[in-house]
């Protein structure tokens, strides 16, 4: 790490297994493009890392429009995993990412367990990739479209396939659309995940009453933004108590206050998603806010507050 002590004498470094981060603030997949798009507003080098838009083996065109709609304190999206495919990612997108000076985490997705494994294999040995994040909220084509992430066995199978092929830390990104997320978290931990990140979006829907049509062409979409923060925080807290591997908190994080709640609940790092859309500089602001908080509280290192929520009165 270049700057051992962050400016201001507070140690913001955290570790996700073998992945060392300058600070615990990452950008969430699908909300920060491939790192280049928002450089007018944010300096990638200041971030803990960038999680890139989900990549598949072949390019995907995505869903027909409309793809997004705003909801109360949130939004629904059904982008349909549009992406340039792994080859163009490596040739066109990675060179820029590599020289940003921040950690690059590649979010991957597939239709079958084998696809996940092949994708991880293709990315193995490619320079400039610091970790993989495995999106298991995708429909399992061989199992009738039920998301990998909602069944412990398929979640574990994907994890094993990726872990076997990858040469960097593997973070499995959990779906919140389940009865007991801790069960899935333990399943992927047992299958070799180095860390889990959560939550992906909640399944939601909106209807335009005049036209009587769903607001999204895909009918249902993923809910993100501040609206989902309480659900995300609850799940992070549950998972952090259920697994021994590091947990990365995601969901509605827009301010340092929000990020601190996740750290206290047990997250070792956080990802900022939807907030990038309306405040592209949110990540940097959150880093500054965490530092200010730690200084005010007299905490020398962010590590000290991870998981420190006081629920002992229970």
């Amino acid at each position: 790490m270049e700057d051992v002590m962050d400016r201001g004498g507070v140690d913001l470094r955290v570790r996700i297994g073998a992945l060392h981060l300058r600070n615990p603030v990452l950008t969430a997949s699908g909300t920060f493009g491939y790192g280049r798009e928002l450089t007018a507003f944010v300096n990638p080098a200041r971030l803990g890392g960038i999680v890139v838009k989900g990549i598949s083996l072949a390019p995907r065109p995505g869903n027909p429009p409309p793809r997004v709609v705003e909801t109360a304190c949130g939004m629904l999206n059904a982008i349909g995993l549009e992406n340039v495919g792994v080859e163009r990612f490596i040739s066109d997108k990675l060179p820029f990412l590599r020289q940003t000076g921040t950690r690059v985490i590649v979010n991957i997705l597939g239709d079958t367990v084998e696809e996940y494994g092949r994708l991880a294999g293709r990315l193995a040995g490619v320079e400039g990739i610091d970790a993989l994040e495995v999106n298991i909220s995708c429909p399992n084509v061989k199992k009738g479209g039920v998301a990998f992430g909602t069944v412990p066995e398929t979640a574990a199978a994907v994890t094993r396939a990726v872990r076997a092929a990858a040469d960097v830390p593997v973070i499995v990104k959990l779906s919140p659309n389940v009865t007991d997320i801790a069960v899935i978290a333990r399943a992927v931990e047992d299958a070799g995940a180095d860390a889990v990140s959560l939550i992906n979006t909640l399944l939601g829907m909106a209807i335009d009453s005049r036209s009587r049509k769903p607001c999204l062409a895909n009918v249902v979409g993923g809910l993100s933004g501040p609206a989902i923060k309480p659900v995300a925080l609850r799940m992070v807290w549950q998972v952090a108590r259920a697994v021994a591997i590091p947990v990365i908190g995601i969901g509605g994080i827009a301010t340092a206050e929000d990020a601190l709640e996740f750290l206290l609940a047990g997250a070792t790092a956080v990802q900022v998603g939807t907030a990038n859309f309306y405040r592209p500089w949110a990540g940097e602001e959150i880093i500054d806010g965490i530092r200010d908080f730690l200084r005010q509280e007299g905490e020398p290192a962010v590590r000290n507050i991870i998981g420190q929520v006081r629920v002992d009165e229970q």
Binding site: N63, N77, G225, N276, F277
Partner: protein, 261 residues
């Protein structure tokens, strides 16, 4: 392309028709960089509802660093925007997107329907640059009624453009839709610029294709970011697949777009 965030101060708010407003703000960096057809992403207030920024075309750029927006109140975001009097702050990101291509070979026709007029005024201004007057260029405008149309119409004629007007209720100009005015002028035109409701743009695009006239359209979609990162602003293109309105547009060649019925 360079984009800026500006915490702009509102300097004037004018109510045109009942629900149409013109807002003047100080945003010198955005104003200096803006091209006709580009837009800004506007955030009103600091609360989480509405959450996302709203896209609005750059309507006018003033020599003093002022920027004008012309908008209709259709929901929460525009409703809050209409409440902002002089002295209040709004948070803008811009200028964004690819605007109009500015070198028409031969005479141009600018066609605006409703709030589609917004980007066309800035275009009309720029087309005059380095020219004594609009030459054979002309402007076709349509709106619901006289109240909505008269001030913008006066501004376009202030620039010297010959005007053809239409209103839905016949209270000013032709009683009907703007594209109906196009047939008369199309033979003498080499470049059409159009912005307005989708069915109107589709009709204009079709007429232009039939007549072999180049046509640029400015499209609208729902946008979460306006910055090319959410991929939410897709439009279907004739060649297959999608383009993104916030980066590849909002202005497209009409023939590039796959028009839907």
């Amino acid at each position: 392309m360079t984009e800026f965030q500006e915490k702009s101060t509102v300097t004037a708010r004018e109510s045109l028709a009942g629900d149409v407003f013109r807002l003047t703000v100080q945003a010198p960096r955005i104003a200096a960089a803006a091209q006709p057809g580009q837009f800004v992403m506007v955030r009103v207030g600091d609360t989480l509802d509405p959450l996302l920024r709203r896209p609005l075309s750059i309507h006018q750029v003033l020599p003093d660093g002022g920027l004008r927006l012309l908008f209709k109140v259709v929901g929460k975001g525009t409703g809050l925007l209409a409440e902002l009097g002089p002295g209040r702050k709004i948070d803008l990101i811009g200028p964004l997107g690819r605007g109009f291509s500015l070198a028409p070979a031969g005479s141009a026709c600018l066609i605006g329907g409703g709030m589609g007029m917004a980007p066309l005024y800035f275009l009309a201004q720029r087309l005059l640059r380095g020219k004594p007057g609009p030459g054979h260029d002309q402007v076709l405008l349509g709106a619901r009624n006289r109240a909505e149309l008269s001030l913008p119409a006066a501004e376009f004629s202030g620039l010297g453009y010959p005007l053809h007007l239409a209103t839905d209720d016949g209270s000013l100009g032709h009683h009907g839709f703007v594209p109906e005015l196009l047939d008369d002028v199309l033979p003498s035109v080499r470049q059409v610029y159009v912005c307005g409701p989708y069915p109107m743009m589709r009709m204009v695009a079709l007429k232009c294709r039939t007549a072999g006239v180049a046509c640029q359209v400015s499209l609208e979609t729902h946008m979460a970011c306006g910055l090319g990162v959410c991929l939410g602003c897709a439009v279907t293109v004739a060649a297959g697949g999608y383009k993104h309105v916030c980066k590849d547009g909002p202005v497209f060649a009409a023939d590039e777009v796959l028009w839907k019925m």
